[in-house]
């Protein structure tokens, strides 16, 4: 079976763990727990009729005191960047986070989850932000870990992209 290591990266509190919880366990936690180190979960998906095992590395978020440890990103086949759409700075930091990830993992398929889209009143992102991401060749999907919106699509997209990238090599 094909195995793909997918890393969840972003600033602290953007909902990386919640997205994985929703995707793997169909659960949403109301209480915030900050991740220490990496939590590893697995889920099998179908890509073009083939079973792919996703190894989801939910990596502790970047804080003012600590960057994302590059050692966790080594060997990643794909990356899900998670942005909290209600905190503009989590998008502003994306470019430097992307640089950290690129140095550690190389240019691997990546998708941006613009998370917490259920919080419409607090939403800080504009259409032009998504256009800017596209210009940087980053595919983005609005997600709500709370409601499940866009969650399957994010992981299905990255699974397919990593498989296709593998075939292209």
């Amino acid at each position: 079976m094909i195995q793909k290591k997918i890393c969840m990266v972003g600033m602290f509190g953007t909902g990386k763990t919640s997205l994985v919880q929703r995707y793997v366990y169909s659960m949403f936690s109301q209480k915030y727990h900050s991740t220490v180190g990496v939590k590893v979960d697995r889920k099998e998906v179908q890509v073009d009729g083939e079973t792919v095992k996703l190894l989801l590395w939910d990596i502790e978020g970047r804080t003012a005191e600590q960057d994302i440890p590059a050692t966790y990103l080594k060997g990643a086949h794909g990356i899900v960047y998670v942005v909290d759409g209600t905190r503009r700075e989590t998008l502003d930091q994306l470019e430097s986070i992307q640089e950290t990830a690129r140095r550690a993992a190389g240019s691997v398929p990546s998708v941006v989850a613009l998370n917490k889209c259920d919080l419409t009143a607090e939403w800080k992102l504009k259409d032009k932000d998504e256009t800017a991401l596209r210009r940087r060749a980053l595919h983005s999907i609005q997600t709500s870990a709370k409601l499940g919106e866009g969650v399957e699509q994010v992981f299905q997209w990255v699974a397919a992209a990593t498989v296709n990238a593998g075939l292209a090599r």
């Binding site: 109301q30 209480k31 727990h33 220490v36 180190g37 990496v38 190894l55």
Partner: protein, 297 residues
């Protein structure tokens, strides 16, 4: 009274504090580990178990004409450290049997499957993690085959496998793993109790769950409903890793654990101070502590 003694015999007796010291040299740090357990001041039986083990490649060069024989010495050095605490639950002596069976099965399984931990490319690392998870699953299967899958004894398991600098953990229940870095204590594992689950998913408020005793009911346990969490953290020189059962954390808060770990000159005195602290605060439950200090070599 806390006594020192041989690990196997005294740990089985379960009524004394039992240190198990194990110190090895593995560049660039020296990993020094101690485990200690005590029945507490209220309970007559100790249903906790712990184990500290090292895993190494079994290559012993008995003769060679290679000039630099030192190149082979690395093959004999301990390369991984296994630390496990388990807190049994269940009537009569069931909990004690379950926690003992769990740690035995884990060590036995890993002794047979250990060859993979040296090759750490991405796929091998996941294979290794699968082995660690399988070790816990095996202990679960063994307990259930012995006692049945409904209503039998069960146990928490918190297991850390340290392949410097990476600490891999597999965890079920409400025992805990922490590490101390620069005076800051961080909890690696999350408690898996019904109380935590109900509060997490927003079904209950914390005080309601506490009133209902749900923080004393395990949502995931080896021998019960098993849903282990798996992960890893990279350690740094001077970090201190600690595993414990809830007999410690029901009495000592994070600040006290952190100051005790920071003040102790070695892992043995850290364990003793922590257990003394829990006993001074009432010792309402069995208490087990495993400490690993990662000091620069």
């Amino acid at each position: 009274m806390m006594e020192q003694g041989r690990i196997a015999d005294d740990a089985r007796a379960g009524t004394t504090a039992v240190p198990a010291r194990h110190a090895t040299k593995a560049a660039p740090v020296r990993i020094e580990c101690t485990g200690l357990t005590h029945a507490g001041r209220v309970r007559s039986n100790n249903e906790d178990h712990f184990v500290i083990a090292s895993m190494r490649k079994s290559v012993d060069v008995t003769d060679t004409n290679v000039e630099d024989r030192e190149v082979f010495s690395v093959l004999q050095a301990p390369s991984a450290h296994l630390l496990v605490v388990a807190d049994g639950v269940g009537g009569r002596s069931g909990g004690r049997i379950a926690s003992g069976m769990a740690v035995q099965t884990i060590v036995q399984y890993l002794s047979e499957a250990v060859g993979c931990y040296q090759r750490m490319d991405v796929n091998a690392e996941h294979e290794f993690l699968e082995h660690l998870t399988s070790a816990v699953q095996q202990s679960h299967d063994r307990i259930q085959s012995e006692f049945g899958s409904q209503g039998g004894p069960a146990t928490t398991v918190t297991m850390v496998t340290l392949v410097w600098p990476r600490a891999y953990f597999v965890h079920a229940g409400d025992s805990r793993a922490y590490f101390l870095r620069d005076g800051r204590l961080r909890q690696i594992t999350q408690d898996q109790t019904m109380g935590d689950l109900m509060v997490d998913i927003g079904v209950m408020k914390e005080d309601e769950a506490r009133k209902g005793g749900l923080f004393d009911v395990l949502a995931s346990a080896v021998g019960g409903e098993l849903s282990p969490s798996v992960g890893l953290v990279d350690l740094q020189p001077d970090d201190v890793l600690m595993l414990c059962t809830d007999g410690l954390t029901r009495h000592l808060d994070d600040a006290r654990i952190a100051s005790t770990l920071a003040a102790a000159p070695d892992s043995a005195s850290a364990c003793k101070s922590l257990i003394d602290g829990a006993l001074q605060e009432g010792g309402l439950d069995n208490v087990t502590v495993v400490v690993a200090r990662c000091t620069p070599a």
